[in-house]
């Protein structure tokens, strides 16, 4: 389903555009506007005349229904080239690009290259000879669409090939970087409570670790052969003392370049050498940032969770630092229970989210990353 909320179309809407443009089996007309039959297609093509591919394409398109609509101009150029390739006579063509004044600026070198590469790959080399058939590629803008149109001036009554791109999708692509989407990966789950989790890569040993804070236990896991293996654990609270929700958490301090523990709002330095120990300095935590970087661009984004209580499933959302309160958030991820804690890893490229799964009752640790949607 496509969905738009207050004018902002989320990823679901992007999918909907594909649905708009789903391939349709349909009859294709020849240049004489009579239905193309197999018999007609078997006639020999006239050399050096693009009109032949109009006829050949008819039958071919019946069996390879094209997508009429694309999501970007690169996609559109590729799909248009595929349409041309499907039935065209394998001969050199002179490709002429035509941009109307109102569509200038839309067609960059990249879609042109994509088109030329694709037709070249199917045996239609781009040529500059004056006697080669001319294939004109035109870009036109309508109120809601950008059209890439392939036409041949040599055909008597030219069949055209059109790929549509919703203008709105180009606007997003043109004006802003691709929106990052959140992705989750289950790292750990257990029945006993987990208050906080942190993934950490030791820069000296190039080893990956997962730290978990249980009820009163600090646990360390190493990543070996694709699985987390328990390494050691240590009691960090007096026996009988239990943590309340939100009382302790792990975080990586970029300023100090080390993993730290927050206990009763106080910062505690962790000594990760065995045996595990920590020293609380009495400094109050001012800000535990959930800033997460993505591969899309440099703009800072933050992970935020829902405002429901611990009886409800939750949603982790990526928010732009520059966004105002009423501005829509950029990417979201549903999790099977309330999010208890989020700690961003040392490279800020991933975060560990502790979730209490309301279906199983287990505590689960997810790695959350922001990936580019395209």
């Amino acid at each position: 389903m496509a969905a738009c909320f207050a004018g902002n179309c989320f990823d679901r809407h992007r999918k909907s555009r594909r649905q708009h443009c789903e391939p349709r089996h349909r009859g294709v007309l020849s240049s004489s506007f009579k239905p193309v039959s197999a018999k007609q297609n078997l006639s020999l093509p006239r050399p050096r005349d693009l009109s032949v591919f109009c006829q050949l394409m008819g039958l071919a398109l019946l069996f390879f229904p094209p997508r009429m609509c694309a999501e970007s101009l690169e996609d559109a150029a590729h799909e248009l080239a595929m349409k041309v390739c499907v039935a065209a006579h394998k001969q050199p063509v002179k490709v002429v690009w035509r941009e109307a004044p109102q569509s200038s600026g839309y067609l960059s070198d990249r879609p042109k290259k994509v088109f030329l590469d694709q037709i070249s790959a199917c045996g239609m080399e781009a040529a500059e000879n004056s006697d080669t058939p001319i294939l004109t590629i035109t870009i036109e803008v309508t109120p809601s669409k950008v059209l890439l149109i392939a036409s041949s001036t040599q055909a008597l009554s030219p069949q055209i090939y059109v790929i549509e791109v919703p203008r709105a999708s180009l606007f997003v692509a043109k004006e802003t970087a691709p929106a990052p989407q959140l992705k989750r990966e289950l790292l750990w789950q257990q029945e006993k409570p987990i208050h906080s989790a942190l993934e950490w890569r030791d820069p000296t040993a190039e080893e990956r670790f997962l730290f978990l804070l249980g009820e009163n236990l600090f646990m360390r896991f190493g990543f070996e052969n694709g699985v987390w293996k328990w390494m050691d654990s240590a009691q960090f609270l007096p026996v009988g003392r239990r943590l309340r929700a939100g009382e302790a958490s792990l975080f990586y301090s970029p300023a100090k370049g080390r993993v730290e523990l927050v206990l009763n709002k106080k910062v505690c330095d962790l000594d990760l050498t065995q045996p595990f120990s920590y020293t609380c300095t009495g400094t109050e935590v001012l800000d535990r940032s959930t800033k997460l970087s993505s591969t899309c661009d440099e703009s800072p984004r933050y992970l935020v969770t829902g405002k429901g209580d611990y009886t409800q499933t939750d949603r982790i959302t990526l928010a732009s630092a520059a966004a105002s309160a009423d501005e829509p958030l950029q990417g979201s991820l549903d999790v099977p229970g309330p999010v208890l804690d989020i700690s961003v890893a040392e490279n800020a490229k991933a975060a560990a989210a502790v979730v209490k799964n309301l279906s199983t009752g287990n505590y689960e640790v997810y790695r959350i990353t922001a990936v580019c949607s395209n």
Binding site: M1, A2, A3, R24, G27, L29, K34, V141, P143
Partner: protein
């Protein structure tokens, strides 16, 4: 002492500067939007219907009707100038994979002028008579569902344009809407001493008045409760039936703020330094052949006729370059492919074809009668020009310029002999090329070959449909004409859609000194000059 004076001067200057920064200098303040004022609009139309159910697709009257209706009513969605669909009365929409079933969530908190809330059932009642027979609409909670028997990937384009307004029909027959303005009483002192006109049509029943000069006024007052925020203007006073030249003088003299300009007056208005804005081409003039005269049914005669037409001269001379020669049924800005149809003028070939015709056909014994269906001087001039062109190819044409309403265009008035050719005008109103083509074909009974997929919205199929009909030459497009308006010097934030929507809810009026009113030499677009305006913030307020 000198030192003290300097310090005093410096301190005073600083205080003055600070005050200017805090309060804003007069020059800066003048560029900020301001509330208030009445926008005086003059249009040529003699009457306006605000009932979308009455509008005839493609009619020239529907253009003015639509502009007035946009003040009072709203649609479910809107299309902005960047190709993005924006929520209006629908805040969310979704469709199934086949695009046959669409669901629109209706905006909460929208009220009619009487304070009652807009509900999904209102939307259903309004749109049901407007939607084609293939589409069924139903309410589902606070949403509506449109179920179509055919895929409708262009439903948003359709609903964002044309007559798809949401309204509520009161028991009195008057339609009310949720738009930025309300058709209201002419204020005291406004409307040039206007009196209520009890004889006005149902849709004009309130707010219509006759001025001493005889012009009928419609007064639209600001809707204080509009969900999208109160418009800047207090009201809009529309005078109907103003002759084009008088309208131009009125805006030059400061008696009007916004006028419709006919094409022939556009160069003159520009020379007079009047602010002029033109839309994309919105009206097509064309010829349509029917079989009431035997000669018109011969495709060779139609081809000769077509080749004789000098569309370039029609656009550049008759329409003062305010129109473009047309070779396609849909304009380039709407279809994107119109450029593929070439305008073919070949008088020699036309003569050759004419010579090959049987002697008893058009140029022989009988005259080919050309009826000019639309009213107005322009249509008559075009008809006469067509006849001149045809005569150059030895096709004898008689022009009958007694306009008839388009509903009766297929048949001539009983008193007139049957005409084999009709000059018609078509106003484009839909943002869906497919819907526009369907309306055009239906209005003029243009038949299509069965091989063409008429339900398809993809542009290859639309192109094929147009091409097939144009090759038959039963319809010959002549020119496409833009709409132009002249603007007063005090009109600010004029930000229309290029397809002709005026967006008067964005407009505000600047208070100008008396001298500036007469001096309308300000030609720039104020939308560029002014700062972003502080629109009252409403939930989901229109951008």
């Amino acid at each position: 002492m000198r030192f003290i004076e300097s310090r005093l001067f410096a301190a005073t200057s600083l205080l003055w500067l600070a005050a200017q920064i805090l309060l804003g200098s007069p020059a800066t303040a003048a560029r900020h939007p301001r509330y208030g004022g009445t926008l005086r609009v003059e249009v040529h139309a003699l009457r306006v219907s605000l009932d979308p159910r009455e509008w005839q697709a493609g009619s020239l009257e529907s253009a003015t009707n639509q502009k007035m209706a946009e003040l009072v009513f709203e649609r479910l969605v809107a299309l902005d100038n960047y190709g993005r669909f924006q929520p209006a009365l629908a805040t969310e929409w979704s469709h199934d994979g086949s695009t046959k079933r669409w669901r629109f969530l209706i905006r909460a908190g929208v009220k009619f002028p009487d304070g009652t809330a807009l509900g999904a059932e209102d939307v259903v009642a309004a749109l049901q008579p407007l939607l084609p027979a293939t589409e069924q609409i139903s309410a589902s909670g606070n949403a509506i569902v449109i179920q179509s028997s055919v895929p409708e990937p262009d439903l948003l384009e359709q609903l964002a344009s044309g007559r798809y307004f949401v309204y509520r029909a009161l028991a009195s027959g008057v339609l009310v809407g949720t738009g930025p303005f309300v058709l209201g009483e002419v204020p005291m002192g406004g409307g040039q001493g206007a009196e209520q006109n009890p004889g006005s049509s149902r849709s004009q029943a309130s707010g219509a008045a006759t001025s001493p000069g005889g012009g009928v006024h419609l007064y639209f007052r600001a809707n204080q409760e509009a969900w999208s925020g109160r418009p800047f203007l207090d009201g809009i006073d529309v005078t109907l039936g103003v002759p084009p030249l008088r309208a131009m003088f009125d805006v030059q003299l400061g008696k009007a703020d916004l006028i419709e300009l006919v094409p022939e007056l556009v160069p003159r208005a520009r020379q007079a330094n009047l602010r002029v804005w033109s839309s994309e081409p919105l009206t097509m003039y064309g010829l349509r052949f029917d079989d009431t005269q035997v000669a018109a049914s011969d495709v060779r005669l139609r081809e000769a006729f077509s080749l004789s037409l000098d569309r370039g001269t029609m656009a550049s001379v008759l329409l003062q370059k305010q129109a473009e020669p047309a070779a396609a049924l849909l304009p380039q800005w709407l279809s994107g492919y119109a450029f593929l149809f070439g305008v073919d003028t070949n008088l020699e070939r036309a003569k050759e074809l004419r010579r090959a015709l049987p002697a008893n056909e058009a140029a022989g014994a009988a005259l080919l009668r050309l009826r000019v269906d639309p009213a107005g001087d322009l249509a008559k001039l075009l008809g006469e020009r067509v006849a001149v062109n045809a005569r150059q190819a030895a096709i004898r044409v008689e022009v009958i310029a007694r306009p008839v309403p388009r509903a009766g265009a297929a048949t001539s008035a009983p008193a007139d002999p049957p005409a084999g050719v009709h000059l018609f005008a078509w106003h484009y109103s839909s943002l869906s090329p497919r819907a526009e083509l369907d309306s055009l074909f239906a209005a003029y009974n243009l038949t299509e070959p069965s091989a063409v997929n008429a339900a398809s919205t993809d542009h290859e199929q639309l192109y094929a449909r147009e091409r097939r009909v144009l090759e038959d030459r039963r319809v010959l497009p002549l020119i496409v004409e833009a709409e132009s308006v002249g603007l007063g010097a005090n009109v600010r934030d004029w930000m229309p859609a290029r397809w002709g929507e005026w967006h008067l809810d964005d407009v505000w009026l600047e208070e100008l000194p008396e001298t500036a009113v007469a001096d309308s030499s300000h030609t720039g677009n104020s939308a560029v000059e002014t700062l972003p305006r502080p629109r009252p913030v409403a939930p989901g307020a229109k951008p």
